[in-house]
Amino acid sequence: MKKIEAIIRKAKFEDVKEALYDAGIEWFSYWDITGLGKSTEEQVIRGQVFQSNYIHRRMLSIVVRDINLEKTVNAILNSAWTGETGDGKVFIYDIEETFRIRTKESGPDALFNK
């Protein structure tokens, strides 16, 4: 089992979601994050123009069986791409164990995506 953590543009979220659905991945969590990095945004407040370095992105956390790993990552890489600086990152972790609370099943069987 692997956990995929992806940081993507908020504007690309719907595209990534559709791509994941198409790949059969229908179970994941996400949240909005703020970070620092290379890209900056011009901000104007009452006529004062300045560069804001707070970057707003969305993070997805997806746990999949090993066999689903490649297609999931590809779905994200292709759907979240624009080619401009700031498209995001994908990280992959090993998952030691998974439990489903309702049935107390464990291992890959406890995952939603078969």
Binding site: Q43, V44, I45, R46, G47, Q48, V49, F50, S52
Partner: protein
Amino acid sequence: MKKYILFIAAFLALTISNISAQTKTTGIPVIDSGDTAWMIVATAFVLLMSIPGLALFYGGLVRRKNVLNIFMQVFITVAVISVEWVILGYSNAFGSNSIEWLKPYIGGFDWAFLNNIRISDLSPYFISHSQLAADGSKIGTIPHIVFIMFQGMFAVITPALIIGAFAERINFKGFLVFTILWSIFIYNPVAHWVWSSDGWLLNLGVLDFAGGIVVHVNAGVAAIVTAIMLGKRRDYKGHAIPAHNITYVVMGAGLLWVGWFGFNAGSGLAADGLAANAMMVTHIGGAVAAITWVLMDWIIDKRPTVIGISTGAIAGLAAVTPAAGFVGVSGAIIIGIVVSVICFFMVAYAKPKFGYDDSLDAFGVHGIGGFIGSILTGVLASPFIQSAYSGAIYGNFHQLWIQLLAVSVTILYSGIGTYLMFKLTDKLVGVRVSDKHEAAGLDETQHGETAYTNFD
């Protein structure tokens, strides 16, 4: 040049109608129920400007860790200054003084705790509606108590405006002590000079219909003095810190705009044509300034911003305040354009250049707005509105000098007075929060509460 002035004068004359003062001559003085009903409503409108109007406007502009502190400061100002007003404020500001030489400068204590004021008394103050009292003197048509309440709301909102200057870094105890001292020693005397029948500036002929000098210049100068004395916020980097909730800012600006109808149209102390004119020019002044600001945003910085349109509206409303009872619609249009352009450049360029941290532009918007409006009242005041008053454009340059004198005196008095009061407050209880508390946010450290929690 002369041709231009004549042309503008003709333009002003075309768009306005004559509103003349009326004095009823019937026997026993009576309360006019129409005037009184309107003034009670107007008083409630002015309260609406402070809470929640100003609280939302300022609260939205600060960071999320300080929003409750702003709400609390505005709320407690409403409560504390209202009490101060009935204890001694009203008497000091509008009362007479038994010491003869002090009369033009400060009222006495005859009306302290509203002593000697009965519910059947009529307001000794009036603008266009008056009647003859039993002793042959002129008096107003609304109960004295309504006038006291109405003026009390002005006494409340003036120190509340200063909050924008020292937001996000002032210690709550220091804020409270300063606000009380400032109201007693700065607001009450200045209100006495400009509005009380004994006031020396009033008797020189100064025009300040609803508080351009007493409220906006006065609070604006106090704002810049306190902002400089308190120093910059720890996170201030030479430009505005992003607002945490712009929807609050818009709601606040909207409520301020609504409340301003009570503020300005109520300042005629009657439900008549003068109030109608004040309402009209207030609305148009705010609207023109909002449009002007947003156009500058759009042209100079590429996009029309929501904070921009809200700020422009407030600047216009502040500027039209002293002029509301003296200019027509065309005057309001000129005031709206001029104030928006000047405030925009003050906030966008002058503030970063000088490097002072007026957190929410209390000086740049209210102070400068009131200043421009008070001066322009001396230029644009039209005899077609109140026949007794005219400005430089109608040949009465004397009015412009009086306006300049009154504004300068107020700037000096408020500037020096604020410096002394703030210094005294710092000695008594301290004014600045510790760096650690400032970083953690004033909601948590001053009040032990958090505005936005994740609890269900």
